[in-house]
């Protein structure tokens, strides 16, 4: 096949995917930026150019800042914990423990369940007085509380659900990586008199680094992309204490119908994701190679 035929075929094969990608990913990303400089059209009043007015509004909007901080705390609270638990799970499942099949199933099951479904179950766990956690605490004589209705515990309660849901998913990647580690490394290390901890710290952990980075990026994106549990369990409350950025965008865009301001908030979210992408492509892929 000559060069120009290659090009014709290449573009024709790409065409359907490219058109749809452009229409529902690239165009909306740019349109978001564009609309953030306009006012929200209301009734007969069309949108008009307002420059940076929406951004000024955002700067002075305490709910935006709270959602952003909540989201950062949420990421900070869930990511290291789920990665640590995932690693421990993988190390256990990778060994010849009795009941390994059951353990792998138990760890991984939350991954295949819909977040909406599990959020409903956890909602009951957190219910004051007769929820499961309250009942267990009662046995020990500890007074329970309204976990989702309290400003201090609402966000951590959501974090717990997320850690529970994601750890098993991340475990898979560690498990795959562990299966490529030669057992002779362990034998050699133990022969040299290394303790288990030293073997993990000096041998396994460096070997697992690419996996950790990969999981880290995935977890970071998920922390900003998934708000199903917020919708089901707290609706951002109480007092926006558990509102995450995307949830606030959803509220502004589809409860208050202020689409221009929702676009402005989305620009911030896109910026966060773009920075993640940049770090990933620039720095991570040098180590894990994409070609």
């Amino acid at each position: 096949m000559n060069k120009s035929m290659q090009a014709v075929y290449g573009w024709l094969l790409l065409l359907p995917a490219i058109v749809l990608l452009a229409a529902f990913t690239h165009y909306p990303a740019l349109a978001t930026l564009w609309h953030s400089f306009f006012s929200t059209p209301r009734g007969s009043r069309p949108a008009r150019f307002v420059g940076l007015e929406n951004y000024a509004l955002m700067r002075d909007d305490p709910v935006f800042w709270q959602s952003l901080w909540n989201n950062l705390w949420f990421a900070l609270g869930t990511i290291p914990t789920s990665i640590a638990i995932a690693l421990v799970m993988a190390l256990w499942v990778n060994r010849n423990l009795s009941g390994r099949g059951f353990l792998r199933m138990a760890y991984f099951t939350p991954t295949v369940l819909p977040m909406v479904a599990v959020a409903n179950i956890w909602l009951f766990f957190y219910t004051p007085q007769y929820g499961l956690i309250a009942q267990v605490l009662q046995v020990f004589g500890i007074p329970g509380q309204n976990w989702l209705g309290n400003r201090d515990t609402a966000l951590p309660a959501l974090m717990l659900v997320t850690v529970w849901k994601e750890s098993g998913f991340f475990m898979i990647f560690y498990l795959a990586a562990l299966q490529t580690v030669s057992p002779s490394l362990r034998e050699a290390a133990l022969l040299e008199g290394a303790s288990r901890w030293q073997y993990f710290r000096r041998v396994l952990w460096p070997l697992l680094m690419p996996t950790t980075l990969f999981v880290l990026v995935n977890a970071l994106i998920n922390a900003f992309r998934l708000v199903d549990h917020v919708v089901v369990m707290t609706r951002g409350g109480p007092d926006n204490a558990s509102s995450l950025l995307l949830y606030y965008i959803y509220q502004v865009g589809f409860s208050f119908w202020d689409t221009a301001y929702a676009a402005t908030l989305t620009v911030v979210l896109l910026l966060i994701l773009a920075i993640t992408a940049l770090v990933k492509f620039r720095w991570l892929d040098k180590k894990t190679h994409y070609q």
């Binding site: 060069k3 290659q6 075929y9 290449g10 094969l13 790409l14 359907p16 995917a17 490219i18 749809l20 990608l21 529902f24 990913t25 165009y27 909306p28 978001t32 256990w92 060994r95 009795s98 009941g99 059951f102 353990l103 199933m105 138990a106 099951t109 939350p110 295949v112 369940l113 819909p114 909406v116 479904a117 409903n120 179950i121 009951f124 766990f125 219910t127 007769y130 499961l132 009942q135 529970w164 898979i172 795959a176 288990r196 990969f214 994106i221 900003f224 992309r225 708000v227 199903d228 959803y250 865009g253 589809f254 689409t259 929702a262 989305t266 896109l270 994701l273 773009a274 992408a277 994409y290």
Partner: protein, 266 residues
Amino acid sequence: MTHKLDTLGAWLLGLLWILPLAYALWAAFHPPAYATRFDLLAPLTLENFSRAWNAAPFPRYFLNTFLLVTMVLVAQLVLSTLAGYAFARFEFRGRDTVFMLVLLQLMIMPDVLLVENYRSMSLLGVRDTVFAIGLPYFASAFGIFLLRQTFKTVPRELEEAARVEGAGPLQILMKVYVPLAKPIYVAYGLVSVSHHWNNFLWPLIITNSVESRPLTVGLQVFSSTDQGVDWSVITAATLLSAAPLLIGFLLFQRQFVQSFMRAGIR
């Protein structure tokens, strides 16, 4: 000694992890009076399921979700195969730039572009349809990437042999590349189906009628408005909506785990 401790720890964590599902099973299969009381002699019942099934249009929600995941999967497989083939085996100017633009979707997903995609669906006049839920996901950067990687590993000699027999580019794709990528298709299919079965926020926004709502949204509408605090019925509905995936997972555990592994390691 440490082995025993490991086993103990692993089992404690395992039981803790399975607890929410175990509780859901308990509450769903026992009368409401036992939803918060744990008694081994409690009578078993299927009544919660039939009450949930009749209290909301779950058959319709099932149909919608089924249509949604099928439609998305078929579109994704076709589009990703064609695009992955182009990226893997055709030389043309601008290819690598376009590929980078495609990869952008791995980071900036339709999931976060709610406002603009809602506007587009309104313009297209397809709001509140199953088609509109699926449309933004038809072209999948992840699928394209996965198939490009796979097609690149196919030896050129196989392609040459088919070409000598007079096969054109599309025939080569169908006869040589697609059959060799079968495990990847299975892996991608499982990941895609479970993702779209579970997807919630976008369907919540773009649908507002029984005719288009998928299970996840239907479940949320059901548990937040109709039921008050009848946990037995809510857990029964919850299990119903997750059942096909859950049963599939329990039956084909190995394939599921391997698929998520394969699809994740790029």
